[in-house]
């Protein structure tokens, strides 16, 4: 009898493994239920568990990240005007899209997109999912394409590591997942929708607060610098561009720097110290003449 039970358990295990390979837990439980290995109630328990197990930022789906990112982008765009310079936007977008291909997460739900903000403030921002913003003030600080590439790679690093989603308060996620986990339908009833919208709004507040006002945790910035060197290095950019940029920020107390980058990032000298070993390990890279000339052409009209 015990042998039979052991065999049944192994059979159930095998079928469950098969089911997990075929699709998801839902299908697996149906297979088990069909064999009589588990009861209907037990199957439902597995299904419910699989739906409500979400507990951390890593459980936010790609599609949800996309919707969060869209609204974060709308909030950023409510603070800054867009620079009307099609050639520069095309140049930044092409460079950013190229670097993203050499990142650890080249594909996101709706892809990477880039925009230049018309402000002298020195800043760069990335909304979850891959919506990246650079300010005109920051671009004017860059001396060459490779420096600009490292800034874009830093922002792509934030998207790769999901730093925006990581800044959502844990309790907020617990509330959201609790509400979502018990709702199997795609269209919400008015009371559920009202609650979800409230949580969504607070979620955006957490992200924008970190992104624009308080800044990310220092460790996230160092991590993004490390990823910038990794991704731009893979694309064969001169990763020394990052230190070239950071050096322009050392000792700069101008209002343009203070409002953006300085307020939300660790001291540039600390970042230089932290990232230099990785840059040195990659060695120097010759900047091709074509990069120098197209960079000069792209930024020529900036005032």
């Amino acid at each position: 009898m015990r042998t039979l039970r052991a065999f049944s358990a192994l059979l159930a295990l095998g079928l469950l493994l098969l089911a997990s390979g075929c699709s998801v837990v839902q299908q697996g439980t149906d297979v088990l239920k069909g064999t009589g290995a588990i009861t209907s109630d037990q199957a439902n328990t597995i299904k419910t568990t699989s739906e409500t197990i979400r507990s951390t930022f890593g459980d936010i789906s790609e599609e949800e990240e996309y919707y969060i990112g869209r609204s974060v982008a709308a909030l950023i765009l409510s603070r800054y005007p867009v620079l009307q310079n099609a050639a520069l936007t095309q140049y930044i977008s092409t460079m950013g899209s190229a670097i993203a291909l050499y990142s650890d997460r080249p594909e996101t739900f709706a892809g990477y997109h880039f925009l230049v903000l018309d402000t002298d403030e020195v800043n760069a921002l990335a909304a979850p999912g891959g919506l990246v913003f650079l300010t005109k003030g920051l671009i004017k600080r860059c001396q060459d394409e490779d420096t600009l590439a490292l800034i874009l790679a830093h922002e792509i690093g934030h998207v790769n590591a999901k730093h925006g989603l990581q800044s959502i308060k844990k309790s907020r996620l617990v509330d959201a997942f609790k509400l979502l986990g018990t709702t199997a339908i795609k269209t919400y009833a008015p009371d559920t929708l009202a609650k979800l919208t409230g949580i969504f709004e607070d979620t955006l507040g957490d992200i924008v607060g970190s992104l624009v006002e308080r800044g990310y945790d220092r460790k996230f910035e160092y991590e993004a610098d490390g990823l910038a060197v990794k991704f731009a290095g893979r694309a064969h950019y001169d990763t020394g561009g990052l230190t070239r940029f950071l050096k322009t920020m050392v000792g700069d107390s101008s209002a343009a720097s203070g409002k953006g980058w300085f307020k939300t990032h660790p001291a540039p000298q600390d970042r230089i110290k932290e990232v230099t070993p990785a840059i040195t390990a990659l060695g120097a890279v010759k900047i091709a003449d074509a990069r120098t000339s197209r960079f000069k052409q792209a930024v020529a009209g900036l005032k």
Binding site: A6, L10, L15, G21, V25, I53, V82, F109, V285
Partner: protein, 162 residues
């Protein structure tokens, strides 16, 4: 005799488990649109376009790329960041009823923070300009332009002069 019979039954059960583990893994596209490529690189010709929810059979894996087969039998490569691999981690618990299954992208498709939630948020914040966000999302740089940019700058797969 009894012990031998028991061993045989257990062996049979184990065999089923091993066969199950060796069975094909199905991966599911989790992003809006992507493509299967001839070789494991972005500048390789696209064989077929895919959309979120499309299912593929995994054949092998190499440097972040997964070799897959479509339901029509087409074989090619897709980047691992574009797909979800549904998993059931049975080692997480002795009780199969408490399996630590991660909610998959498929199970969550269209749920959670979705278009309906965005519309509800938008109606409360009419000052936000979502049309600008839509315009930003419409700008997509074609693969051939990215390749030309990299070639011209002697970057990535097309350069690297030290």
């Amino acid at each position: 005799m009894k012990i031998r019979k028991r061993s045989l039954v257990l062996f049979g059960g184990l065999l089923i488990v091993l066969l199950a583990m060796a069975a094909d893994t199905v991966v599911v596209v989790k992003i809006q649109t992507t493509a299967i490529r001839q070789n494991p690189q972005f500048f390789s010709p696209a064989l077929v376009s895919l959309k979120a929810g499309d299912k593929l059979t995994k054949i092998s894996e190499s440097n972040g790329w997964i070799q897959v087969k479509t339901q029509t039998g087409l074989v090619g490569w897709i980047h691992s960041s574009a797909v979800d691999v549904p998993k059931v981690n049975l080692l997480a618990s002795n009780d199969p009823m408490k399996t630590q299954a991660k909610a998959s992208e498929v199970a969550l498709a269209g749920k959670g923070f979705n278009q309906q939630v965005e519309n509800s948020y938008k109606s409360k914040h009419t000052e936000l300009n979502f049309a600008l966000v839509d315009r930003m999302l419409q700008v997509k740089i074609a693969s051939n332009l990215i390749e030309a940019f990299l070639r011209q700058g002697r970057l990535g797969d097309f350069g690297g002069a030290k």
